[in-house]
Structures are given as structure tokens and as C-alpha cells.
Amino acid sequence: MEHSGASIHLSAVVNVFVTFSNEEKRSLSLGGHVGFDSLPHQLVSKSVTQGFCFNILCVGETGIGKSTLMNTLFNTMFENEEASHYQNGVYLRPRTYDLQESNVHLKLTIVDTVGFGDQINKEDSYRPIVDYIDTQFENYLQEELKIKRSLFNYHDTRIHICLYFISPTGHSLKSLDLVTMKKLDSKVNIIPIIAKADTISKSELHKFKIKIMSELVSNGVQIYQFPTDDEAVTEINSSMNAHLPFAVVGSIEEVKVGNKMVRARQYPWGVVQVENESHCDFVKLREMLIRVNMEDLREQTHARHYELYRRCKLEEMGFKDTDPDSQPFSLQETYEAKRKEFLSDLQRKEEEMRQMFVNKVKETEAELKEKERELHDKFEQLKRMHQEEKRKVEEKRRDLEEEMNAFNRRKVAAETLSLSQPLKKDKDKKK
């Protein structure tokens, strides 16, 4: 009886397990402290030991203040010489720095666009920038597709944020700005900023910002929106979204205001303080870019922009996610198919080459045979001529011999005649 009871019990348990897989997930309450709430800490300490990496691309005209702003943001004098206005084209200059704050290491790469906006014909100005971003994606993709890969210590050079520096004309965007941002918005997170904002008064600034945003919206340019789905930061992020584009002023010089030394620009009519929120939006930019959303920027770059690039690239190469029957293709199958295709291609090429080789050999053979035959004919001909000549010469010789013989005979005949004649004379005399 117990036996059967136990078996019933067991089957009941089994039943539970079987039905489990068909039911929805349900949450359980814990009876005590398990300890997996330390998981985030473990993740954090792992990433701290690994170190962080962040890549910024600064796009803007020569002299607009890109380098100064970087120096001001990171409170460091990055070495850089002033660029000239007379470059032949646009080229990108990446520089990597190792920074440390408390125990956090940051590998910061700043990419500068040298020569942007200086040429008279700027139709191709956006191209080097797009190419650079694509190249970084390509490098990462290559690493990802390797057989033996080491993603955990791969130096990620993909651009996480593009700061687009808008010239403070006070009217609207420039045509070059619009064209460039449209080319970049699907590849990178863009934050537009108004550079050298101490040349625009408050009322003008308000109108300028509205005009810029409306132009971006009406032309379908997607700029980076600070995320509002995380409760902790939703309020500050949504209020910052309303202040875009940030009007910034950069400075590494310090001026005494009150009894403190602050970073500022000193004019005859006043002092513009970089970190004074009523003077400019520098503090907002720093807050958003570095202190609140840096990690989100990295995530967006990887999850959205990189994935888009990867998908396009792989589709180009002929990979698909579903075959014509809408069954999911596994990557392995695709690889196999590709490999077979490649091998058969190879074979075909080999065949072609062999065929060509054989043909060539045949041709050459035929040529050689032809030549041989000609030679042979010539030889025959010469032989015949030679024989002909020999015969003629023989004939002549025989003729000559004949003549000689005949001559000899005559000579002998003549001699004997002359010999017998004198005797006859003598005989006649004696009588």
C-alpha cells in the first residue's frame, strides 16, 4: 500500500513538473535572505576591474571650440595643436587617453574632424565621417565572427556619442549641418550643441533653439533622446530633453569671481562663467553626457546602431534569418551552404583552368607538328635537287671520259700511222 502511495506521490510530483512547463511563470516569495541581491555589486566590481571605455566624436567647423570643450568637460589639457583652415579634405583624428577618477579607469577616445566645413565644395564632407564610423563597426563585427575571439578584452572603438557643434548664427542650422546630421543619425547617437554660445543673448537663444529643433524634426533627423524609462532618472532626463540643443561655452582659463577662481571667459563687459547655469548649459551637458547617461549611450550604440549595421552587412553577404519556407535558418546551415557554394565555385574555376591548359597544349602541339612537316618537305626537296645535280654532273663526266677516250684512240692511231710511214720511205729508197 505504501509502495503504491509512494508511486502515486511520485507521479503527482512528475505531473507537477510536466504541467510546470506549460504554465506561466509565477513569482515566489522567499522564506529568508538568499543573497543574490549582491549580483549588481558583483557586476559592478567586475566592470570596475575591467575598466570602462568611451568614444566621443566631435563634428564641427575648424575653430568652433571642439578641443576646448573636451578639455573643459574632462578637466584635462589634452594635447592638440590648432588646425588650419586650408586642409584639402576632411579627415578624422582619433586620440586615446587613459583617465582615472577614484578607482574607476576610463579609456577615453576623442575623434576630431579636421578640416570640416572649410572647403568651398562641401558635398563630400560627410563621407569620411560615415566611413570612419562604419569601419569601427566592421572591426567589431570581424572580431565577433572570428572562431577564436576575445571580446572581453577587445578595445571597443565604436563611437558612442557624436557631439555636433552648431555655429551660433542665431538664425537656423546651416545647410551643411542638416545634410551631415541626416547621414549620421542612423549610425550614431547625436547630441547637437550650440558652440560659443556667449555670443547669443537669452531671447535670441530661445528662438534659435526652437528653430533648430523644428528644422531637425521637419527633416526627420533622429537625435539622441535621454532615456525616460528608468524611474531613477526619468524626471531629470525628460527635463533635459526640453533644453536641447545645449548652448555651451568652454574655457580652461580661470578668473577670480568673488573670492573663488572659476573657469570663465573675461570680457570688457563682464565675465562668462562656464559652470553658471544662467550663463550657459555646460553643466547640463556634463551631467547628461557623463554623470547620468554614459552607460545608456554605450548600450544604445551596441544594441541599436551596431545591430543595424550588422544586419545590413550580413544581409549584403547573403545571410538570411528565414529561408523561402519561412523556417528559421540556423547560422550553421547558412555557413554550410555558403561553404559548399564556395567549394563548388572553386572546383569550377579549377576545371576551367585545366581546360584552358589542355587547349593550349593541344594548340602548341598542332603548331609544332605543322612545323615538323614543313621541315620534312623542305628536306625532301633539297635531297631531290641534290640528286638531280649529281646525275647531271655524272653525265658530264661520262661525256668527258668518252671524249678523252676518243681522243686517246685517235692519238694512238695517229702515232702508229706516223711510225709506220717513215719505214715505208726507207724501204722505197733501198730499192
Binding site: 572649410d118 568651398i120 551660433p168 545647410s175 555670443t199
Partner: protein
């Protein structure tokens, strides 16, 4: 001198003054530079009128393929009985497109057109009411956001320096601290020399002027290119109402010489050198154009063998370069032949001896 010896032609300046006031003056000013550098605001500040009411600014999208237009505004202004017919020629669209190759061409064409029209009028039979629309001065606005002159600035000034008086200005000067401003001005002056750009030079003052005037003149010359700020609004500063820009950190006064060079520009352009600008336009730029035009016409005439010319001109006194070369060559040949002839004569003479 006693009254008897006094002839009276010392009143000539007064007579000239009276007549000129009666006749009135005219002045044409061309402003060029990219959008958003404050050209219209500066012109308003200079002449204290609002010339640009209700103008429509284009969006960035519309400007991608924009061509350069030429727009003219003419106003009659009067001050203390002196009438001035002021024409401002604006160049919307300059430098705004993505591809700005030869974007200065419409501007040079416009200037040439005005020269041509004046040339025809001057050579016509009835010269009573000639309208002088020639451009007397071109204010070129250099953006202060860069490190000096850009390629488009250099190309523009090269194309225009032979046709009009170019006065380069550093616009929106409230973007540069005094140290940065000095660096920028030095840079622009250096690059102007380096690329051989001929901008308008103030005439040297006479050696018999007093020291203070000379000092002022020197200071004026040393502070070129002028760094200007314009404003359409009046603000309250230091108890007075002045034209200026209100910032959270201070007030920029347009007419304060320690804030910008607006006053210097205004003095130079309107109060002291306006007539000099007109004179140089008439005597130098227009004459160059006229001489070129005539040469082209006569060389065409000799090619076409036409006797009549549409404009009464004196026959060409200076032969052009080609014929001169030919003449030189022929002279050389002649000389050589003469030398040879002499040598031969000598030889013959020696042989005879």
C-alpha cells in the same frame, strides 16, 4: 591784408559746400558674408534706420542648393540739410549652400554691370542725368568662430579686390575676448599679406598735419580689420540709453570703443572717408574697367575690320603685346642682317687690298 588786396576766392570752399548740399550725395554699399553674421543688424546700426523690415530667412533645407541673389535697398536720408541717397546691396545666399564653388560670380557680375552701365552713360550724347550706381565700398564679414581667413574668404577677396574697395570686418566681435581678438586681427592681417589680398588702405595723412591727428590715423590703421558688433535694440547701461546687447553677464555697448571697433568703422566709413572711397572707385577701379573694356573692344574691331564703333573713343595709342613682340623680333633680324652686311663688305674690302 587790407580790403583792397582781398580778391575773394577764399570763399570757394563755401561755394563748393553750398552746391554739393544742393546737389545731394549718393553712396552705394555692398555687404557680403555668410548668413547669420550680423550684416543687416550692422547696417541698421550704422545708419540708424531699419532697412530690413519683414524679410524672410530661409531654412537650412532650402539653403542646401541656394544660389546667390543680389538685392538692393535704396533710402533717402537727410541730416542737417545734407541729403544722402544710400543704396545697400545685399547678397543673400552667399556661402550658404553646401557647394559654394564660384559663389562670388553673381557679385562680380553685378559690379561689372554697374560699371558697364556707367561707361555707356558716360560715353553717350546726353549726359545730363547720369545715375551713378557703381559700388563704392564692399563690407566683407569674416566669421569670428574660426582661426582667421578661410578658403572661401580668400577666394572672395581675390575676386573682388580689383573691382571694388574691400573693407574686411570681423563680425560678432562679442565672441572674442580682448586677447583672442588681437590674435585674430594679427592672423587676418598676416593672411591678407600672405595671399596678396588688396584691401582698402586709408590714405596717409599729410606730413603737415598735427601730431594728434597723425596718432589717431596710426591707431586707426593698426586696428584694422575692424571688429564690429551691431544691435537693433536699445538698452539701459550706466544710466544712459544706448544701443547694445543684453547678456546675463553684462551689457555690450555698440558704441563703446573698448567693447568693439564700431565707432571707428562708422567714423571711417561715413564721417571721414566716404568721399575717398568714392574717389578711389571712380579713379582706380572704374578706370581699370574702362581701359580693359576699350582694349577688348578695339582688338575685336581690328579683327572684325569694322570701321564704326558704338562708342566714341580715341584710337589705340599703345600697341598690344603681340604686335610689340613681332616688331621687336623684326628689329632684331634687321640688325643682324645689317651686321652681316657690314662684315661681308669688310671682307670684300680686305680681299681687294
Amino acid at each position: 591784408q587790407s580790403d583792397k588786396e582781398y580778391v575773394g576766392f577764399a570763399t570757394l570752399p563755401n561755394q563748393v559746400h553750398r552746391k554739393s548740399v544742393k546737389k545731394g550725395f549718393d553712396f552705394t554699399l555692398l555687404v557680403a558674408g555668410e548668413s547669420g553674421l550680423g550684416k543687416s543688424t550692422l547696417v541698421n546700426s550704422l545708419f540708424l534706420t531699419d532697412l530690413h523690415k519683414d524679410r524672410k530667412l530661409l531654412n537650412a533645407e532650402e539653403r542646401i542648393n541656394q544660389t546667390v541673389e543680389i538685392t538692393k535697398h535704396t533710402v533717402d536720408i537727410e541730416e542737417k540739410g545734407v541729403k544722402l541717397k544710400l543704396t545697400i546691396v545685399d547678397t543673400p545666399g552667399f556661402g550658404d549652400a553646401v557647394n559654394n564653388t564660384e559663389c562670388w560670380k553673381p557679385i562680380t557680375d553685378y559690379i561689372d554691370q554697374q560699371f558697364e552701365q556707367y561707361f555707356r552713360d558716360e560715353s553717350g550724347l546726353n549726359r545730363k542725368n547720369i545715375q551713378d550706381n557703381r559700388v563704392h565700398c564692399c563690407l566683407y564679414f569674416i566669421p569670428p568662430f574660426g582661426h582667421g581667413l578661410r578658403p572661401v574668404d580668400v577666394q572672395f577677396m581675390k575676386a573682388l579686390m580689383e573691382k571694388v574697395n574691400v573693407v574686411p570686418l570681423i563680425s560678432k566681435a562679442d565672441c572674442l575676448t580682448p586677447g583672442e581678438m588681437k590674435k585674430m586681427k594679427d592672423r587676418v592681417r598676416e593672411e591678407t599679406d600672405k595671399y596678396g589680398l588688396k584691401v582698402y588702405q586709408f590714405p596717409d595723412c599729410d606730413s603737415d598735419e598735427d601730431e594728434e591727428f597723425k596718432q589717431q590715423d596710426r591707431e586707426l590703421k593698426e586696428s584694422t580689420p575692424f571688429a564690429v558688433i551691431g544691435s537693433n535694440t536699445v538698452v539701459e547701461a550706466r544710466g544712459q540709453r544706448v544701443r547694445g546687447r543684453l547678456y546675463p553677464w553684462g551689457i555690450v555697448e555698440v558704441e563703446n570703443p573698448s567693447h568693439c571697433d564700431f565707432v571707428k568703422l562708422r567714423n571711417m566709413l561715413i564721417r571721414t572717408h566716404m568721399h575717398d572711397l568714392k574717389d578711389i572707385t571712380c579713379d582706380v577701379h572704374y578706370e581699370n574697367y574702362r581701359a580693359q573694356c576699350i582694349q577688348q573692344m578695339t582688338s575685336k574691331l581690328t579683327q572684325d575690320n569694322r570701321v564704326e564703333s558704338p562708342i566714341p573713343i580715341l584710337p589705340l595709342s599703345t600697341p598690344d603685346v603681340e604686335t610689340e613682340k613681332l616688331i621687336k623680333m623684326k628689329d632684331e633680324e634687321l640688325r643682324r642682317m645689317q651686321e652681316m652686311l657690314q662684315k661681308m663688305q669688310q671682307q670684300m674690302h680686305e680681299q681687294d687690298l
